[in-house]
Homo-oligomer: 279 residues x 2
């Protein structure tokens, strides 16, 4: 496995692989890898000749009051995990390698206005921009994203379609701890007590999955889910919403494929979870 | 020479050429080709195995009160010219092939706020988006743009740098009529009387070039240029400005490389011209 820190050396490796006719899969990550990332890397390993993992805490997708500095990092552990999973390359740039006095950006309207986009107004602009940059640097045939960040996945799919990136986007299921908590690098912020409280998210998901069916009012599903979270004293709801699976706009009842998503503060830690329902 | 109208058939051709190890040059145009475009196509022909010309009047770069409908089109003539210049492919899509309910876009701050960006606030967002799309569809090694659209060229260069497009941007000199008028598809809008009046732009360029030198105040150069245009009764200045050649921000005196650019209405037709000065 190789490690690169510059765009130039990454491109050089990729170009050589392409010359040899090899297919390339990309798993974009912010590092501090967990089983969720591992599942993406494994899937990528199965479907491509070359597996590239990017490991970069992208500053432009954090708001000024968010946890950029605190975001957990452990490149040594990441790199051992990637090696053990058979990755060929980790691209691990410094912020200054990715951004020199940047002015151009990629963004998306409508899909980024709801859910996490409401609380994190610049987040998806940062995501679209860095993912476009990684796509242009690595030029993968396929790129792998977790369904855990469901709005991000929907946005990336639409961005790829709208901007004609010649890349297949592969969405992979949420990976959970044994007790149901969705795996997240941010789980590391939780105290023991908060860790227990955080189970209200996956419990709410389960409640929602049991309640949802074609034709039901969104509010019937969502109020049951909210009740589960509100029963937990350490939890504070950012949002619990039902949106159209494609355009991320709120729906009043289940008539088409939907995403039911939530963000909940457990103490100071903001966690997300979701499920999709196909009609 | 082949003609494609869909993204899919264009990609298929390009992929085959790439498999054969051929280099690809792209000349993005809005059609109604003139000698300025021809000079780009010739340069592209010299430097690449394959020459792709895109011929697409991009609706998203026109404001609601601008000349999208009136913009001149003559695909038959364009296609004969491209063939005679040795192009391999014209990509000539319909708007609906390029835009299906679009939400993602590419834009740029700072560089797009001045000069033409002031009068045409959505113009460069449309340009950045369509050029990104064409870059992703054609995946060229090199792309050719005229210095006539100097702000566009500076913006495309910065976009390529910021978003890590692996494409060399080649800027080509302004091509002029014998009497000095910069070639433009919009010259076709001019009446005989306006055609004569339009010479005030190139006269102002000449005046500016004669006046400019390192250390001079911008206002000294610009006021001389404005006087030339104001002497022409059919002309109305949109702007005559001196900006930093890289970030397109106004400068007060010539200390670094600068762009001196103007937009002038001749009757209802808005024409542009410019010159660069390197320190």
């Amino acid at each position: 496995m190789q490690v690169t820190t510059t765009v130039e050396e990454t491109r050089k490796l990729v170009k050589n692989w392409k010359k040899e006719g090899k297919t390339i899969g990309l798993v974009p990550t912010m590092g501090f890898l967990h089983e969720g990332h591992a599942s993406l890397i494994r899937r990528c390993r199965e479907e491509n000749d070359i597996v590239v993992v990017s490991d970069f805490v992208n500053p432009t997708q954090f708001g000024p009051t968010e946890d950029l500095e605190a975001y957990p990092r452990d490149f040594k552990r990441d790199s051992e995990l990637c090696e053990s999973l058979g990755a060929d390359l980790i691209f691990h740039p410094e912020p200054k390698e990715m951004y020199h006095d940047p002015h151009a950006y990629v963004s998306i309207d409508t899909l980024s206005d709801t859910l996490c986009g409401k609380t994190r107004p610049i987040h998806f602009k940062g995501v679209c921009t860095v993912v476009s940059k990684l796509f242009n640097i690595v030029a993968p045939d396929r790129a792998y994203f977790g369904q855990k960040d469901a709005q991000q996945l929907a946005i990336i799919r639409k961005m790829v379609q709208d901007l004609n990136f010649d890349i297949q986007i592969v969405g992979c299921p949420i990976i959970r701890e044994e007790d149901g908590l969705a795996k997240s690098s941010r789980n590391t912020y939780l105290s023991a007590e908060e860790r227990k409280a955080a189970l209200c998210l996956s419990r709410a998901v389960k409640t929602g999955q049991e309640a949802i069916c074609k034709g039901i009012k969104a509010e019937e599903v969502l109020s049951k889910m909210r009740a589960v979270i509100e029963a937990e004293p350490l939890a504070k709801i950012d949002y619990v919403s039902m949106v159209d699976a494609l355009d991320m706009q709120p729906v009043e009842s289940v008539e088409k494929d939907v995403l039911v998503a939530m963000a909940v503060y457990i103490g100071k830690t903001r966690l997300i979870d979701n499920f999709s329902y196909e009609v």
